[in-house]
């Protein structure tokens, strides 16, 4: 073998070995998370899709797929989907949940935007401290914080007593803050506010301050500078923050359960009820699938809007 050919072969072998190493590395890195998702997300999802096409068992759970006894319901059917659309109450709860999620998102946006802007325009040193304060509530348990709201909004709390006192002076009936849609909304906004603040801050912090100088120099008032420069440039942050609030709120069941009244149930409560109380697993699965599909539709819509505005930014 000539020396040239030898070197050529050696190089080719080396390239092959490197490529093989890269493949191994790729699997080592992405393998575990992939496995995790397969076992704990894809497989249960598939089980749920199958469950939604089956009949409920006599004592809860699922009816058998096959039974020789004709009196026992068995096999696959679209019955649960028919049931979902036959009674408008379910669609109504879906619509109500979407409206609650939308309201939460909008309130979070209006509260978070000025805060994010304030943080983004503070000195670098202060910014880190302020971001820390925004995420500080995560240091305590979610449920503990919800129970804290039960106390804060309770009839014995200063807030309720002051409000009722004022109303009494005006000759009106006292209010009950706890176990009301109001309490649910307050807690939903409280819990999800950081998820809006952080993406907004991350976006606003990257804005070039020279752009605002330029806008002002070219005759834009403070109001015009915000609506024509800052806000349009922050749209990607607005969209990702909104997705981070809207989607979890749709599936939330703990807050309405603990702070809402009997009528204040959302999709999340409905699903929980099907699995744990009514024990109608096929219908619970159907509701879950409908929720997942709606959330995916929303996420797709948000991503589309977001990418369009990102393209310009």
């Amino acid at each position: 073998m000539s020396r040239k050919a030898f070197i050529y072969l050696r190089t080719a072998r080396r390239a092959k070995r490197l490529a093989a190493e890269a493949t191994v590395q790729k699997w080592v890195v992405s393998g575990p998370p992939l496995l995790f998702l397969l076992v704990f997300f894809a497989a249960p999802g598939l089980i749920m899709v199958l469950a939604s096409f089956r009949y409920p068992g006599e004592f809860g759970g699922l009816a058998p797929l096959y039974s020789s006894d004709p009196k026992v319901l068995h096999g696959l059917a679209l019955e649960t989907y028919g049931f979902f659309f036959s009674d408008f109450i379910y669609t109504e709860i879906f619509i109500k949940s979407f409206l609650v999620a939308l309201a939460t998102t909008l309130i979070c946006l209006t509260l978070a935007y000025p805060l994010a802007l304030l943080i983004a325009r503070s000195e670098k040193k202060k910014r880190d401290l302020m971001v820390l304060l925004v995420v500080l509530p995560f240091a305590s348990s979610f449920l503990v914080r919800i129970y804290a709201w039960m106390i804060l909004l309770g009839p014995q709390a200063a807030l309720s007593r002051t409000l009722s006192g004022i109303l009494q002076l005006l000759g009106l009936a006292p209010v009950h803050l706890l176990f009301s849609p109001f309490a649910v909304l307050v807690a939903l906004v409280y819990v999800h506010l950081p998820f809006m603040v952080l993406p907004l801050y991350t976006n606003l912090e990257k804005h070039d301050p020279a752009l605002l100088d330029a806008a002002q120099d070219l005759g834009a008032s403070a109001w015009q500078r915000f609506w024509r420069v800052t806000f349009p440039l922050s749209l990607p942050g607005v969209f990702s923050g909104s997705a981070l609030v809207f989607i979890p709120v749709l599936g939330m069941f703990a807050i309405p359960e603990l702070l809402g009244g009997t009528g204040d149930i959302l999709i999340g409560n409905l699903i929980k009820e099907q699995f744990l109380v009514t024990r109608d697993w096929p219908f619970g699965s159907t509701l879950s699938i409908m929720l997942t599909l709606s959330v995916l539709a929303c996420a797709w819509f948000a991503a589309k809007l977001g990418s369009r505005s990102r393209h310009h930014a």
Binding site: A210, D213, A215, Q216, D217, S221
Partner: protein
């Protein structure tokens, strides 16, 4: 009445006096440059004219009106920023139309003026592009168009050519000169590049440590600097300590230690005994083998120590006998192959009696 007038403007940042009692008067239609090293206060002056910074003392008049405390959006002044600061979410046309929209001009006027500016800036085919899709030179033209579309009384330019490469910078310099002549808007230009200032300006203010050292036309600034700093900052110059021996009508006699007595042009307030410096440009210094240089009033023997050939010219560094080094710049424009002196050659160095300038301490 000057279009822009700064009266005793001072700006302090803590203990630092960034701008120290600056007075300037800029005429309508002028291309005026603030030139100085970084940190000399030129950008602070510009920001105070634009309204982004307020003076601690002094007044600023634009078009005869005292606008010292007016916010930027209320001044008939637009700025071209060093980073261009184009709005990334707007197309070229939207960027250019921005100041017209802010001024609430009628829709048809906005269209007409935007189209005119796009034509003028040779951006007509780029109107629907976004800034990130443009080259540096094109972005520069959008920034200029956006600042000029509403015909401000005054255009401020903050080192607008600094981000461009050398070749493009030269092209943009010529474009700027033509543009300014075409639109007739007064330009106030800030730069630290003296060649740029000389090439573009009608007048230049050289700044140093917050003060204006000299305001003059480029040729006068180059030929007749008033201080060591200006002489040194603008172009290359030979500078020697000197003492006035005799101040006659029409010339001055100077004593340069290590060189000898020379004849220099007359200088103001140069009584015998005055100490200062004698400065002379390398292109005013001749070197030769003997006779031709010996006819000059000032000539001294020397030895070539270094030479730098750069195509069009050659720079010689000559050591004067018992004295300092002097730089001479000779054009290589003689017919045929250029002839050079070599390192180690003994030559005569000379200059005319009316060349160079005496600078006070």
């Amino acid at each position: 009445m000057a279009l822009l007038e700064l009266r005793n403007v001072t700006r302090r940042f803590g203990d630092l006096v960034a701008v120290d009692n600056v007075s300037l008067s800029i005429e309508s239609g002028e291309f005026f440059t603030l030139l100085g090293p970084s940190g000399c206060g030129k950008t602070t002056v510009l920001r105070m004219i634009a309204g982004f910074d307020l003076p601690d003392a002094g007044r600023i008049f634009i078009g005869g009106k005292d606008l010292t405390d007016a916010p930027p959006e209320r001044r008939p002044v637009h700025t071209v920023f060093q980073s261009y600061a184009l709005f990334p979410h707007m197309t070229v046309a939207q960027n250019i139309a921005f100041p017209l929209k802010m001024a609430r001009r009628p829709q048809n006027e906005i269209h007409r003026l935007t189209d005119e500016t796009l034509q003028q800036m040779r951006l007509a085919d780029k109107e629907d592009f976004y800034p990130h899709e443009l080259s540096g030179g094109q972005q520069q033209r959008v920034a200029l168009g956006r600042a000029l579309v509403s015909r401000p009384q005054l255009l401020l330019l903050d080192e607008p050519l600094a981000a461009l490469d050398a070749k493009l910078r030269e092209e943009m310099q010529i474009e700027l000169i033509n543009l300014q002549r075409e639109v007739g808007v007064t330009f106030v230009f800030v730069t630290h590049a003296q060649d740029e200032a000389l090439a573009l300006s009608h007048r230049i203010a050289v700044m140093r440590q917050g003060r204006v050292e000299q305001v003059d036309e480029p040729a006068r600034l180059y030929g007749f600097p008033k201080s060591r700093f200006v002489a040194d900052f603008i172009g290359h110059i030979n500078m020697f300590d000197a003492e006035v021996m005799e101040a006659a009508h029409g010339h001055t006699r100077l004593m340069i230690p290590g060189v000898g007595e020379i004849t220099a042009p007359p200088a103001a307030n140069a009584a015998p005994g005055t100490r200062g410096a004698f400065a002379i440009r390398p292109e005013q210094v001749r070197i030769g083998l003997n006779s031709e240089v010996a006819e000059l009033k000032n000539h001294f023997p020397g030895e070539v120590r270094n030479l730098l050939y750069s195509g069009d010219v050659t720079v010689y560094k000559v050591h004067l006998v018992d004295g300092p080094m002097i730089e001479a710049l000779l054009p290589n424009s003689a017919p045929g192959r250029a002839e050079f002196f070599e390192v180690g050659d003994t030559v005569r160095v000379g200059w005319r009696h009316d060349a160079g300038v005496f600078l006070h301490e």
